[in-house]
Symmetry: C2
Subunit: 263 residues, 2 copies
């Protein structure tokens, strides 16, 4: 067996690339094992702020890909790190779920339930409601700034797509008349920088493997990485954007990063 | 006493023009009484879908302006009438509050709690939440179309501004990737047509009195009505848009539609 690409670093998307819901993409475990056996550095990259890095690591381990929390980079972690650089320890109001709040607290932010804050953090939030939208409006009227985890319209689940962070961002922008300053998740260079630092490789020595053109492939192209689009997630083989963005490889599944033995 | 304008029909905005919250704008009762005494036809026009027309009439009556429900035209009524022309009796999912649901039921629509509908009706909804956003997404994926009551970003209250319908519209458009086809409230010609029909006057023989440039004044100008901007609501005297839109009259308050007796 041999790998189709020689790069030392491998950034691997999760949803639609390694698993769908609770089901492993067949062969993803063997492909990751082969990368590791060959001495490649692997990190997992997700825009989802709905679970902690430890949760993602536990899920991967359960599915047959032993992983530690440090090998996972998600938008909650990146947002907390980025905001710590902009305004360390600031009072923040969070449109988001408990794992994001925990990550912000772990980075020493003062998470408040009212509008007396310097930042409104907007994330994929299945508990989003009018009261949170109102608090965000009052915060912005008091001078708060806006930052968000990820730009995705919808999130694929086993039961179909559900509303993602773009819905929360749009609602807040519409009522406040103020634009979100930074969206840290893919395709932002901010999450890429954190991931490359984690792997300790240069962009030119790194591959990104993912199922979404507008996040995984666009970010990889802009950042100077090799790009591998897999067709196990949101993108269909006939999508005209494949030709427009021209990933280095288009594979039916992540299992195909390993070439079959010659006959 | 005499009126500053000779027109037979008068369309009068409510919030910020006749009252603010529960408080009558001083002199609004006498001004309306003078219009009626002089034989002018008066209807009240509101973008708010949070109460029934009967509720608005009762409030006006309580504040000293005796009014019947038929004299009130609000965005719920106009939406129900407009949708009845487009798709009478259709199954609909409503992002909105009980008075809007009641108006739709009174117009024989099948209001459903699930996504198996032909229309998603989007309104100012203080009970908006993620579950409603998700139902709207699933409805649109099943082919449903989008219609909305009003385009306002925020609604002024006695305690400040709160999020209005623009927040709900933006969230649904962002996650579905589909634009709202019709927003019936001011400044749409749809609500103006209903109001003019109610008064039985031509646009050139009608005045609109309101506090919002982007809805009341813009709609009046486009529709060929005389326009009176009052400064008791959202618009400040120094607003540069006043010169841009040039209302026929800019008054400190609706009370000034009546000229003081000559000395």
């Amino acid at each position: 067996m041999s790998l189709r690409l020689p790069h030392r670093g491998w950034l691997v998307d999760l949803d639609g690339t390694v698993y769908r819901g609770e089901a492993l993409i067949p062969g993803a475990d063997a492909a990751i094992a082969e990368l590791r056996r060959a001495g490649r550095r692997v990190a997992f990259l997700s825009n989802k702020p709905l679970a902690t890095r430890a949760d993602y690591a536990a899920k991967l381990t359960r599915l047959g890909i032993p992983t530690s929390a440090d090998d996972v980079v998600n938008s909650s972690l990146v947002l907390a790190r980025h905001l710590a650089r902009l305004d360390a320890g600031a009072p923040v109001f969070v449109i988001g779920e408990p794992p994001l709040v925990a990550e912000l607290r772990a980075h020493h932010f003062e998470v408040r339930a009212d509008h007396r804050v310097r930042w409104v953090v907007i994330a994929f939030d299945r508990t989003f409601d009018y009261a949170k939208l109102d608090t965000a409006l009052q915060a912005v009227r008091g001078g708060a700034r806006l930052i968000a985890t990820n730009p995705d319209r919808t999130c694929p689940t086993e039961d179909g797509e559900i509303p993602d962070c773009a819905g929360m961002i749009a609602a807040v922008e519409a009522v406040t008349g103020q634009a979100v300053e930074v969206v840290v998740g893919k395709p932002s260079p901010i999450i890429l920088e954190v991931a490359l630092k984690r792997l300790g490789v240069a962009p030119a020595d790194c591959v990104i493997v993912g199922d979404r053109i507008e996040t995984d492939i666009v970010m990889g192209k802009r950042g100077g990485l090799a790009t591998v689009l897999v067709l196990t997630g949101i993108t269909r083989a006939r999508d005209p954007r494949i030709a427009e963005t021209s990933p280095d490889l288009v594979l039916g599944s992540i299992r195909e990063i390993v070439e079959p033995p010659h006959q």
